[in-house]
Structures are given as C-alpha cells and as structure tokens.
C-alpha cells in the first residue's frame, strides 16, 4: 500500500548537533500517526524537513500534497482573521478585483464550526493563543484536497489548547483521516496518543526508536520508549506548608472579559487559576502581573515594593512564547539574564563572570539542553525555550510569579522537574499563580484552585478537595460548584 507521506533515511545536523539521524517513517492513508519524543529529540526538525523549510543533509521526502501547521502557527498578527484565513490561497476574483465578500463568506463557513465566526474582522493579535491555533488548523485544512495521497502535519497543535477545543481539533483530525488523509501530529500529551492515534513513532536523540500501531500501549510504555529507561522517580509529593503573608492583592479587577475579580496571592502558596477559552483566563495573567492596564480595579504588591505596574516587579510568563517570551536573535544567556542585569552590575559595569555563573547555574537547574548558554535561543527546541523563560524569573526571585500555560511544550519527565522548581520557589516564600485552560497538567502542583467563568471568579477551593473533573465541571458551569 502506498503511503500518504514517507521519509527515508533523513539526516540533519546543526553544527555538532545531530537533530535527525537516518530517520525513516511512513504515514499510511486514513491513519492518524502520532510523533512523540523528549524535548530536543528532533520532532520539529523532522516537520520542517517535510515541509521543505529546512534542507535535510541527506535522505528523501516523498509526499504528494501535504498541509502543515507549524509550532509557531505562521499568522500575521496585525491582519484580520479573514485576511489570515485567505492568506495562502489564490484570491477569489470578481472581474478585476478581489471579491472580499466571497472571501469573508469562505472564511465564515470554515471558521463557524470552530467558534470563530463572530471574530472574522478582529485582528489576530486580539485572539487568544488557543483561538490562533484553531485558526491555523482551519486554514491548513482548508488548503488541502482530502484524498488518499494527501497528508496533514501538525506540530504540537494541542499544547496550548483547552479540553473542549482539543475535542474540536481531534474531531477534525478524525474526520479527515476518515476521508483517507494521512495525519501526522506531534504531541507531548500522551493521553492523546492513546485516545486518538492509530500509529505512533518515537524519536530519541534524533533516532527513530519505535514505529508501529498504538494497539494497547500504555502511557507508561510510551514514556519508557521515549526515555529509554523504565524506571522514573515518582512525582515529588505535593508540598503543602503553611501559607504566608499576602503578597499581591487584586481588587475588583475588570478588563475586556474579566469582571470584578478579587484575588489574593500569598507567600509560599501556588494558586491555580483555570477557565475555558473566553472565560477571561487569557486576560487575567497580564492584569495580575501589572503588564496590562485594567479597565477598573487595581493590583497592589504588598511587600512595600510599590505598585505592581512598576516594570518587572512581578515575574510574568506569557502563554504566547514565540512572540512574547523569547528574544529572537539573542543568546540563551541574554534571554536568561535580562531581568537580573541590575543585580549583576559591579563597579559600574555588568560583571561578566557573575553573568556567566548565573547563566550556568540556571541552565543546570532548569535542565536546558544543549547546555551551552552562549547558543542562540532559537537553536533550542520549543520545550527548552520554555525552561529558559521560567528560569529567567526564578533567577530574579520576585515576590510573585504569574505564569500562563507554564508546562506548554515541555516533555513529560521535564514537566515534573519544571513544576518541582516552581514548588521550590514557593517554598522559599514566593507567591505563584498558574493560569491554564486545562487543569490536568498543573492541578497537582496547586495549593488552592480558583475557576473563572464568563469573566468572574466562581470558585475557590484548596486542592486537597478538588479533582480534575470537579474543576472541569466548574469551568463549564455544569454540575455542582466546588465545595
């Protein structure tokens, strides 16, 4: 049987790094094929070679027609949703001019099922991360003919998506597979592999170590294949010390979506803030961290350090990593040390040896790979960039850190390490707010949980009394509210 997409003996080096080592892989028509592996194992590189974005050193790519959704989506943020949707396709002409109305109609028809129909004229910059992913997927699917010789390739399409949106995407994937397309998707959510994929391939250090039907492989089996070891230390116990003094007060905070939110962060406490897309959880982070101006209400930092809006008083990790968290063109070290620079000044100048020592320590603590802090940040894989962004703030040890989708793109073992770092920071007296569209990944790290629905805080509960399904129910407004 011919395949929708095939690669043979693909090899790609970046300098001394072997990102892909003789990788051969087939995606069969009508099958959903998951590609998994630890951070830096070569997944994104493989996709870029497939799309022709990178030239492989050797090996061949065989495909008739493929559509791609890259990890960074490729949307023009100043253009509208409609303009982005029609960007890649030939314009619909009416006589000599572009038929805008017909294009809008096209976009409406494709985007209505994913809930974007009423945002056609909004600029993409006004969309949340999740909405952008949905748009990018809809656009990629739109360009393809659904046939047995075509393939759809998605690089971590679901890493920033909430549960209900994942449903939409997975349904679309299933549907296209049902019509005979081959689907290749990268994910760090191993549950998805078990639920959605027919086949799975595993990359480890650039080598294909497994490729075959998912069958009855368990998550543990997948992790073992990814890491190459079966034993893995159990997750560290959730710390639950006494919480300290209040650090940050948000008082009747309102913004575009948020209404009248009161929230207090305490020293030594990790608060999970969960909400569905559109609940305002995407907006709350910037407001809490003082990076956006609220429509009304205020945020106060209570340690005498002054108002939270003072640039940099509170650590902030935005969910839009490529555009808002990473300084492209600069090194890992420069990305890590930026908020710490003032503290590194000795005798009127930034002390080089202190700067390097700090970078070295952070790279080790965060487990950043490769460990060379002089490397360009964009030479790091997505998950490793995320570690740098967190490390940047842990180095400053601000009184509070507000983090959106903190585990996005980070592989399963590294996720535990990353969350352990967050816990350690809280144990040293830091206050943490973890904002997410999906409670599953971070819930066990939280000491307290609040839920946003329609812009309002609906619930607050200590974690020990809350399960993932209870949080989800509260997010959706179904069932009983949290105790």
């Amino acid at each position: 049987m011919s395949s929708a997409l095939a690669v043979e003996k693909l090899t790609k080096h970046f300098g001394a790094t072997t990102a892909l080592d003789q990788v051969s892989l087939q995606v069969a028509p009508g099958r959903v094929h998951a590609l998994i592996g630890l951070n830096g194992s070569g997944k994104s590189t493989l996709v870029k070679c497939l799309s022709g974005f990178l030239e492989p050193d050797s090996g061949t790519v065989l495909s008739e027609e493929s559509a791609f959704v890259h990890q960074d989506l490729g949307l023009a943020s100043s253009l509208s949703v409609t303009e982005n949707f029609v960007l890649g396709r030939p314009p619909v002409m009416r006589g000599l001019r572009i038929d805008r109305r017909a294009e809008r109609e096209l976009a409406r028809r494709a985007l209505a099922p994913v809930g974007l129909a009423d945002r056609l004229d909004h600029p993409v910059s006004a969309l949340s991360t999740a909405e952008r992913v949905v748009l990018a997927i809809a656009r990629a699917l739109d360009g393809t003919t659904t046939s047995a010789s075509s393939a759809l390739v998605l690089d971590e399409p679901t890493s920033a998506l909430p549960a209900d949106e994942i449903g939409i995407v997975t349904r679309a994937i299933r549907e296209h597979a049902g019509r005979g397309m081959g689907i290749l998707f990268i994910t760090h959510r191993l549950q998805e592999v078990c639920d959605l994929a027919d086949d799975v391939s595993v990359l480890r250090d650039g080598q294909l170590v497994h490729s075959g039907p998912v069958g009855d492989m368990s998550i543990a089996d997948l992790v073992a294949t990814m890491t190459g070891t079966r034993t893995r230390a159990a997750a560290p116990p959730a710390r639950s010390g006494p919480r300290g003094e209040p650090v940050l007060h948000a008082t009747s905070l309102s913004g575009r979506q948020i209404q009248d939110v009161d929230l207090t962060l305490h020293a030594g406490e990790i608060v999970g803030v969960f909400g569905m897309l559109g609940s305002g959880v995407e907006e709350l982070g910037g407001l809490l961290a003082g990076r956006e101006r609220p429509a009304s209400g205020r945020v106060d930092l209570v340690d005498g350090a002054g108002h939270a809006r003072r640039a940099g008083a509170i650590g902030y990790i935005p969910s839009d990593r490529p555009n808002k968290a990473v300084l492209p063109g600069l090194s890992v070290r420069e990305n890590l040390c930026l908020p710490s620079l003032r503290g590194l000044v000795r005798r009127g100048r930034i002390d080089r040896s202190r700067e390097h020592a700090l970078a070295r320590r952070l790279v080790t603590d965060m487990g950043v790979q490769p460990r060379d802090h002089g490397a360009a940040i964009l030479a790091l894989s997505g998950g490793n960039q995320q570690k740098v962004v967190l490390g940047r703030w842990l180095a400053v040890a601000p009184p509070a850190i507000v983090a959106e989708e903190i585990t996005q793109g980070v592989d399963v073992p590294a996720k535990e390490d990353l969350l352990a770092q967050v816990r350690a920071y809280a144990a040293r007296g830091g206050a943490v707010a973890l904002l997410a569209l999906e409670p599953e990944e971070v819930l066990s790290t939280c000491d307290r949980v609040v839920v946003l629905r329609h812009g309002r805080l609906v619930d607050a509960a200590p974690r020990s009394q809350t399960s993932v399904s209870e949080v989800l129910a509260a997010m959706h407004g179904t069932g009983d509210d949290l105790p």
Partner: protein, 319 residues
Amino acid sequence: MTTALPRYAMLLLLAAMVLTFSLLRPETFATVANVRTIFLESSVLAILAMAAMVPLIAKDFDLSIASVLGFVSLLAVGLPTRQELPVPVALVACLAVGVVIGLVHALLIVRWELPSVVVTLGTGTILTGLSLWYSGGTVIYEGVPEQLTRLGNAEVLGIRLPVFYMAAVALILWFVLEKRPWGRYLYATGASEITARLAGVDTAKARAAALVVASSLAALAGIVLSARLGSGSPTIANDFFLPAFAGAFLSIAAFKLGFFNPLGVICAVYLLATGVNGLSMLGAPAWVEHVFNGLALVVAVGLAHVSSGTARTMHKGRN
C-alpha cells in the same frame, strides 16, 4: 556554528585596501599627511554615524541627525558672532538644542507611539528650514572666535582634537552599550520590544534615552564640524545624511555580527573614507564615490546577512 564572515573581516578588508592603495600610489596615498587627512575628515562623520546607530539598535530611525548637525553647526558659529555669546555659553546652548530635540522625539515616538521615520523626517525638515532662516541662506564665517576653531584644529601628539572626540564617543558608547544594563535593554528591545517589556524592561525609557543620545551626538558633531571649518553652512547637512546611515548600517558586518555597534561604525566609516580617498588618487571621477559607497553598503550588509545565516534560519524556524 559556521560563519561565512569572521568578526574581523571588515577590518582585514580595510587593511587590504590600505595596502593596495599604498602600493599603487606610494607617493600620495601612503603619506602621513594623507592618513591624517582621512582620519580628520572622517571624525565628524563617524560621530554622526554613531548618532544614527544608537536608536537603530532598538529599531527606531532618527532621520533628523544630519539636519541637527547642520543647524547646530550654524548656531556654533552664529551665536558667538551674531548674538555675541561667549563661546562656552554658545556651546552649552548648542548641546542643549540637541538634548531638547531628542526629548521632543522621545515624547512623540515613545510616549505617543508615532512612527519614528515620519516624526524625524518632519523634525529634520523643520530644522532644515530653521537653518535657512537663521543663516539667511549664506555661509557664516566672519569673526569666528579662535577659541572655537582651536577646539577643532589644535593638535595633541600630532593628532587633531576631533579624532580624540570621535574616539572618546566610540569608547563611551561601547562601554554603555556592552557593559551597562541600558545597552542590553536596547538590544533586547530591538530583538522584540513586547518580549522585553513583558520581561520587565522599561523599554520606553531605554528608547527615549537612545533618541536623546542620538540628537545630542548629532549636535556634538555639528559643533566639531564648525570648530574645524571655522564656518557654518546651511547646506552642508546634505553631504552627511547618506554616508552616516551607510556607516551605521555597515556596522552590523563588523565585530558584533548582526548587531549595530559603535566600533563597527568606526571601522565602516574608515573603510568608506579610505576607499573614496584611494579611488580619487587613482584618478577616478567624482561619481565613482557614490557608486562605491552604495556598493559597499549592499555587499557588506549582504555578507553580514549570509554570515548570520544560521541565525536567520533559526529566526524563521523557531522551536
């Protein structure tokens, strides 16, 4: 990581050029007098090119620098002769004009978020008009006090003072850009303003400071120019605009590859000056100068682009 163009390639090119011209024209090019001329003639341009460079780091353009230089050079000779101000007072006033222009730019570009190209094109044009008004359209040269011209022509160790000014500006800029947080903030802002801001950098302050530094350095260049020439001309700014930006842009091809930097500016300005000087000694007609300057700019920036080609693919291929 491979780089097609080493950090010192431009410096080597400069050396090769000097060597070639020296062999071809040993009696004229390779003389102490000629070397001194090249150094002296280029010092004002180098200061101005550094003025252009500073805001460019944060992706702001200051297109008014040449007009500031022109206006201030008129004031520097006009204030002592026409308004009969003491030279030190006049010079402080000249620098103050630069600072004020920079503050206005900061207000319009940083606070009000207007595009820098448009704003500085506007202020530059206004200053060109003011220069014509102040000078009455003629060159000011009568009664220029010696106190002023000495600043531009006195020698220390056989080297004229403007060369020292240029060196001082370059060293100070190098220090603050490389060793002080402000410089890092500026480069971070150039990489991604929104990211830098979310990471706690006061990008508005960093950009505003860069704009003030640019206008102030342009004013300084204007003072040095008048001090050296002993006169002020309302049209001289035109000769400086393009070479200054050429020097600024070329700096990304030397030392700190892919980034604007002051030592790169110096190297680039001398590369261009040496080329032009040597070619004219070989008897090339005047138009060759423009072709040479333009060609050097495109080739050098192209090379820098290729050499940071690794950086470029990484740029496109995030994650």
